[in-house]
């Protein structure tokens, strides 16, 4: 068969949707037979950095008393310094707007440097207890260092590490594994500090927007904030003091619903709906649990789901319509 996109494009031409020049333009491009490995190679690079640093992360703790150990540490330190040296040398001058390395490889050099410095910080604490006995100060200092690096070199990956470190600092391990393993917290104080951190991130993002400081970081910030607050609130709704979480939950659902329209970001939109829907169901189950009407509710549940499907379909239609209208 002729290539599918060529086939369909000539069909579009037959139906007079596109002009002859555009068809020729397309054919000319196709004839170049371009096969871009950009994404694939960058991802390989990314995987190599993650493999390497996780190996190093284990190695520094091994054979702590031996000579080889010190050699490894010296090597890690040297490598970190080298990473930063080359990155500084090749970095574009700091700018509040989005900047890029001329060569995308440096993004990964920076990533390596940042992870290695976190590893090194952790090790120093482990061996010499610089910050006393409390590990959370390591997380905080890793977060600060990573924030500086992320803002200076404009690296979203390092920013993401900084944010994870920050959530670790307040005592939450926010990784998908933990959430799925159901190891999530049931400590209201922890939940509230999670929510507070999430709100702080939102406020910071709004502020950055105002002063135009790395505005494009909004996606990472908001994604973290949305899931941090969303998960904390959902866990909160299962607590005895669920009514404390309800106003925050409603507020955040409303906020992110509005936000998804500002950026036309489908992921914010979908997760807002999902969190809202699960929250609503949790509330329903709270009200109807152990009620004598329980069987009745099972009976009418299909209508509830059909109703919610209709609501969702109309919400998605509305969102898509406005999103497509806004494409420039």
């Amino acid at each position: 068969m002729t290539d599918k996109s060529s086939f369909l494009t000539s069909k579009l031409f037959e139906k007079d949707f596109i002009s002859k020049e555009q068809l020729d333009d397309f054919k000319e491009y196709k004839a170049k037979n371009i096969f871009s490995l950009n994404t694939e190679l960058l991802f390989l690079m990314y995987a190599s950095v993650l493999l390497f640093t996780s190996g190093i992360g284990v190695l520094v703790y091994q054979n702590i008393d031996s000579i080889g150990h010190i050699a490894i540490l010296a090597f890690v330190l040297l490598l970190t310094v080298l990473c930063f040296y080359f990155s500084f040398k090749n970095a574009p001058t700091f700018n509040k707007l989005e900047t890029k390395f001329n060569n995308p490889i440096y993004d990964y050099v920076i990533l390596t440097g940042s992870i290695l410095s976190c590893v090194f910080l952790g090790y120093i604490q482990f061996q010499y207890a610089v910050f006393g006995l409390d590990y959370k100060w390591v997380s905080l200092s890793s977060a600060l260092i990573c924030f500086l690096i992320a803002y200076y070199f404009d690296s979203r990956m390092v920013l993401s590490i900084a944010l994870t470190a920050l959530t670790t600092f307040i005592g939450i391990t926010l990784t998908p594994q933990k959430v799925f393993e159901n190891e999530f917290m049931s400590n209201p104080v922890l939940l509230f500090s999670g929510i507070a951190l999430g709100v702080l991130l939102v406020v910071w993002t709004i502020y950055s927007e105002k002063v135009e400081l790395k505005k494009h970081f909004y996606f990472v910030f908001y994604t973290f904030a949305q899931h941090l607050i969303g998960i904390c609130c959902l866990s909160g709704l299962f607590q005895e003091q669920w009514y404390l979480f309800l106003p925050i939950f409603i507020g955040i659902i409303y906020y992110f619903y509005k936000l998804s329209y500002t950026y036309f970001a489908t992921s914010f939109f979908v997760f807002t709906l999902l969190y809202g829907f699960f929250g609503l169901n949790t509330l329903f189950s709270k009200v109807f649990d152990n009620s004598f009407l329980f069987e009745f509710f099972i009976m009418i549940s299909p209508f509830y789901f059909i109703g919610s499907i209709f609501v969702f379909i109309s919400l998605v239609k509305k969102f898509n319509k406005e999103k497509h209208a806004s494409i420039s």
């Binding site: 490995l37 190996g55 284990v58 993401s160 489908t266 009418i300």
Partner: protein, 385 residues
């Protein structure tokens, strides 16, 4: 046979093509608008996240229907429990036909009912015949039927899995053919499936089955690799043929399987670059990673952390050299981003993945780590953990 009108499917394909032409900046926004407004099309959700959301909702709806029907008919169910799953299958099909009639296509809701009603059917067959062979055969037949009628790509996987599981079962349980030939039979099936893919894909009128064919291709490639993978063959021969591998010995024809474990991924990668086929490239890279895992599983030449470090360095060098080599190519293989591709997408994705990977705190959960000496065990672990 198809549930959807052919013109609508064709319009749908044309619209999605026009969208990609727009992102690649071949056509203007006005033209895209003209295409989408003039062509009558199906109700789809191109965004996977939205589609998945509706899939979840559809599954909830199906299970709530099952729940309320069960409550209503509890007295009848006791004696006729074998019929129940078929009844649910019927309900699923009716709802599915209504959805299709309303032109839902790749919407999420239709996917949910395709999935759930098939599941009900297979459970029903399993209960009725009490035989896996019957279930696999039904999977093969009905997977294909669903794939054809509802133009559903995932059902192609179901059908393929049914086919291969049926043959596997027939050979291992009923011994139609000597079990020792299993790897080669599986490999020839993979080759057969791939040639069927080539044949189907070359027919012009079938282009809206593109994704189903793609799944057929992926399945045949993966099957081809695993049928001759050393680890699979060795573990299978241990369970099926009771071959015990003593230290210093190996399975029969071991060198063939060692070779194929590495030759097949290498072949996939080279072939994909030659054919400019991204899917085969991904399969090639993933199967190659599995080959390394296979060898490490039997021969632990290096401790895992050293292997990680060395693997990282090697991978870095490979990626670096490839980037250097392809940086300035204008045609064919190139490192230049695709026309209209969104680099922000990759950056965001990598940023979000990295947070799941990085041991940014000094990993108190690695307490099972083999430390060198004693005497500092209290130094690290804070009371919190």
């Amino acid at each position: 046979m198809q549930a959807y009108h052919k013109d609508l499917l064709e319009n749908e394909a044309m619209i999605s093509n026009a969208k990609s032409l727009f992102t690649q900046k071949f056509i203007s926004k006005e033209q895209l608008k003209e295409v989408t407004s003039k062509l009558v099309s199906l109700d789809t959700n191109p965004n996977l996240l939205v589609r998945f959301g509706f899939f979840l909702l559809g599954c909830f709806l199906f299970s709530s229907i099952v729940g309320s029907v069960s409550l209503l008919f509890i007295p009848l169910l006791d004696s006729n429990y074998q019929i129940v799953p078929f009844f649910y299958f019927g309900v699923g099909i009716i709802v599915l036909e209504i959805l299709v009639h309303k032109n839902y296509f790749k919407h999420g809701l239709d996917d949910a009912f395709i999935f759930c009603s098939q599941l009900a059917l297979y459970i029903g067959v399993g209960i009725l015949f009490e035989s896996f062979l019957a279930v696999y055969l039904t999977m093969f037949v009905f997977g294909a039927l669903f794939c054809i009628r509802y133009v559903n790509a995932l059902s192609m996987f179901v059908s393929c899995i049914g086919l291969i599981a049926f043959i596997f079962m027939a050979i291992t349980e009923h011994s139609f053919i000597p079990k020792a030939l299993l790897p080669f039979i599986a490999f020839s099936i993979a080759v057969l499936l791939y040639s069927i893919y080539l044949k189907l894909n070359s027919i012009d009128g079938f282009y809206f089955y593109e994704f189903a064919f793609q799944n057929l291709k992926i399945f045949s490639l993966v099957l081809g690799y695993f049928s001759l993978n050393y680890m699979v063959v060795r573990e299978m021969s241990a369970t099926l043929l009771n071959v015990e591998v003593l230290p210093g010995e190996d399975i029969p024809l071991a060198f063939v399987f060692y070779a194929s474990t590495f030759i097949i991924p290498a072949f996939y990668i080279v072939y994909s670059l030659f054919k400019k086929d991204r899917i085969i490239l991904f399969v090639g890279i993933l199967t190659f990673a599995y080959s390394i895992f296979t060898i490490r599983f039997y021969y632990q030449l290096l401790p895992i952390e050293v292997a990680l470090v060395i693997g990282g360095i090697v991978l870095f060098i490979v990626a670096y050299l490839s980037i250097k080599r392809l940086q300035f190519c204008e045609t064919g293989l190139t490192f230049k981003p695709d026309r209209g591709s969104d680099s922000s997408l990759l950056k965001n994705a990598q940023a979000l993945i990295v947070s799941t990977q990085v041991p940014n705190a000094p990993a108190p959960n690695q307490s099972d780590m083999p430390f060198g000496g004693g005497g500092f065990s209290g130094g690290g672990a804070g009371g919190k953990f």
